[in-house]
């Protein structure tokens, strides 16, 4: 029982990571209708920037929280620039496949440039969370603990969700963003600057990615250019599972994926080595029963 809970907590810890990247994916999708395959590598680049700002030995030695904040601001601007310069002109030629190619090009390019600038050695990212564990309860023998960092990650993620939800559902700006995502031409006719909204969507997603990447890196014993490569696949899984148009769905699905993964590693021996089958298999099954994901809204197709 104790092992089970520990694994679940483990899974939650990983799941929160997947969920936070999935959040950025869903945000871009909800505001621009695009699947950004480069999300992970954009986050990676920002993570390196955070490291550079915070590192005592190789960088500027700023406090980690400040470094993350600045990195997020840089990511915000960069995200807007990428949308304006690379994505929009290609999209205007009206081929969604072309946009996919551009994001794939970014995927390749950003990873390589990051390694060029920052080197290929593993680096250490300071953690913004206090060290140590929190005891949940003890059952007979050892106590079941969860690290403070995990709790911190969960809280940060929840705060992000809350803020985004509030922005999108309860503010005029959010309404404009969603209107542009739903029908950009019609939005323009209502006096909304569609281009600005698109840039904003990318900017926010980039900033969220920067936060997610920095936090993920801080929880590892070292990070390098491969940080995001597997995470992005799990994040896509989480986003799809949750239904691409639901922010909270992405987060919940991320946690589900994390837990399923952890439990499989622990308990299902025949699947040893291919535990990734579980989260991916989960997607297959869920999407077949619920083609719009767990939380996605049914789109009625009116002819």
């Amino acid at each position: 029982m104790q092992l089970f809970i520990e694994q679940v907590l483990n899974g939650i810890g990983n799941g929160v990571v997947y969920g936070s990247v999935a959040l950025a994916l869903v945000l871009i999708f909800r505001t621009t209708g695009i699947l950004n395959f480069a999300q992970g590598e954009m986050a990676l680049f920002s993570t390196y920037i955070t490291w550079k700002l915070a590192s005592e030995s190789d960088g500027f030695g700023l406090p980690i929280v400040a470094a993350i904040g600045i990195s997020m601001a840089i990511a915000f601007i960069a995200g807007a620039a990428i949308e304006r310069v690379l994505i929009r002109p290609v999209e205007q030629a009206r081929s969604p496949l072309n946009v996919v190619i551009v994001t794939l090009g970014l995927f390749l390019g950003l990873n390589s440039v990051a390694q060029l600038i920052f080197g290929t050695d593993p680096q250490l990212m300071p953690s913004p969370f206090p060290d140590g564990n929190v005891e949940l309860f003890s059952s007979g023998g050892d106590a079941v603990v969860v690290s403070k960092a995990t709790i911190g990650l969960v809280l940060v993620l929840l705060a992000e969700c809350l803020l985004l939800w509030f922005l999108l559902q309860r503010t005029k700006l959010g309404l404009k963003l969603r209107a542009v995502a739903s029908n950009p031409d019609s939005a323009r006719l209502h006096g909304i600057k569609a281009g600005t909204m698109l840039m904003l969507g990318w900017a926010m997603a980039a900033a969220i990615g920067a936060l997610a990447g920095s936090l993920v890196a801080s929880q590892r014993t070292g990070f390098d250019g491969s940080l995001m490569q597997i995470i992005i696949v799990y994040a896509f899984a989480a986003a799809a599972l949750g239904g691409f148009d639901s922010l909270i769905g992405a987060v919940v699905a991320g946690v589900v994926v994390g837990i399923a993964d952890a439990l499989t590693i622990q308990y299902v021996d025949p699947l040893e080595g291919i535990e990734v089958v579980v989260p991916l298999g989960l997607i297959f099954v869920v999407l077949i029963i619920l083609p719009n994901g767990l939380f996605g809204r049914r789109t009625v197709e009116r002819v």
């Binding site: 005029k172 309404l175 404009k176 969603r178 209107a179 995502a181 739903s182 029908n183 031409d185 019609s186 939005a187 323009r188 006719l189 209502h190 006096g191 909304i192 600057k193 569609a194 148009d245 809204r297 789109t299 009625v300 009116r302």
Partner: protein, 235 residues
């Protein structure tokens, strides 16, 4: 006093020229009707006004030239354009759709306007939290009209509102439109294929043919003129 004036308007899509020298006037408080067959350039005219396509010549709104402005700038000047296909925000709810209409307003009367339009279109009130994309064509058209009105526009551009609607619904729609014009002084430029209903509420009519104005005149005259009807309006 003319609210809208098109002078020597020319325009189209890339190499395809659709409009050739359109001269058109819409008086304040009037309903101007633009008729014509498919492909005559009716929709293109509206798009040129809204800045959705590049055009040459001049578009003068309330004494100021607005040619070349972007669609969102034109909208902010007080022109509401309901495009063909209604422009519904399908993923948003009915109420959110209406709020989008008012998104650039800074006065505090948005809520009371919402109530007002809900009472004019009770079917929208019933569905206020429903996803707009799941509504019928007629309901979406009502929504489009209400949404446009939420901006408190001075000029309403309507592109083929009757398209895809059942006759009864169309009748109702035009009745509403007529009422908005009569009792609330809304200026309307409506593009239609359904000439009958449009001319009934209209003051002045234009018939477009191959990108030019073939005939124009007082709406009821066009309506009664047999030659015009047979040649251009098909009834």
């Amino acid at each position: 006093m003319s609210l809208l004036e098109l002078a020597n308007l020319r325009g189209g899509y890339g190499p395809v020229r659709v409009l050739h020298d359109i001269d058109l006037v819409v008086e304040e408080g009037h309903v101007a009707v633009v008729l014509g067959a498919n492909g005559a350039g009716k929709t293109t005219t509206l798009r040129a006004i809204s800045g959705l396509i590049h055009a040459q010549g001049d578009v003068v709104f309330d004494g100021r030239s607005i040619l070349g402005r972007s669609p969102d700038a034109v909208a902010k000047l007080g022109i509401a354009h309901v495009p063909q296909g209604r422009g519904t925000f399908t993923d948003l709810t009915v109420e959110e759709n209406l709020r989008v209409g008012a998104v650039n307003r800074t006065d505090g009367e948005v809520k009371s306007d919402l109530d007002r339009w809900y009472s004019v279109f009770p079917r929208l009130a019933d569905r206020r939290h429903q996803e707009a994309g799941s509504m019928s064509g007629g309901e979406q058209q009502m929504l489009a009209l209400a949404r446009a009105m939420m901006a408190r526009p001075r000029l309403l551009l309507l592109d083929e509102p009757s398209l895809g609607l059942a006759p009864l619904v169309t009748r109702e729609l035009f009745a509403q439109l007529g009422d908005l014009n009569h009792n609330h002084g809304l200026t309307v430029l409506v593009v239609e294929q359904n000439a009958n209903l449009a001319l009934d509420i209209g003051h002045w009519g234009y018939v477009l043919e191959a990108g030019r104005i073939a005939v124009q005149g007082a709406a009821h005259e066009l309506h009664d003129d047999e030659a015009v009807r047979k040649a251009y309006l098909g009834f």
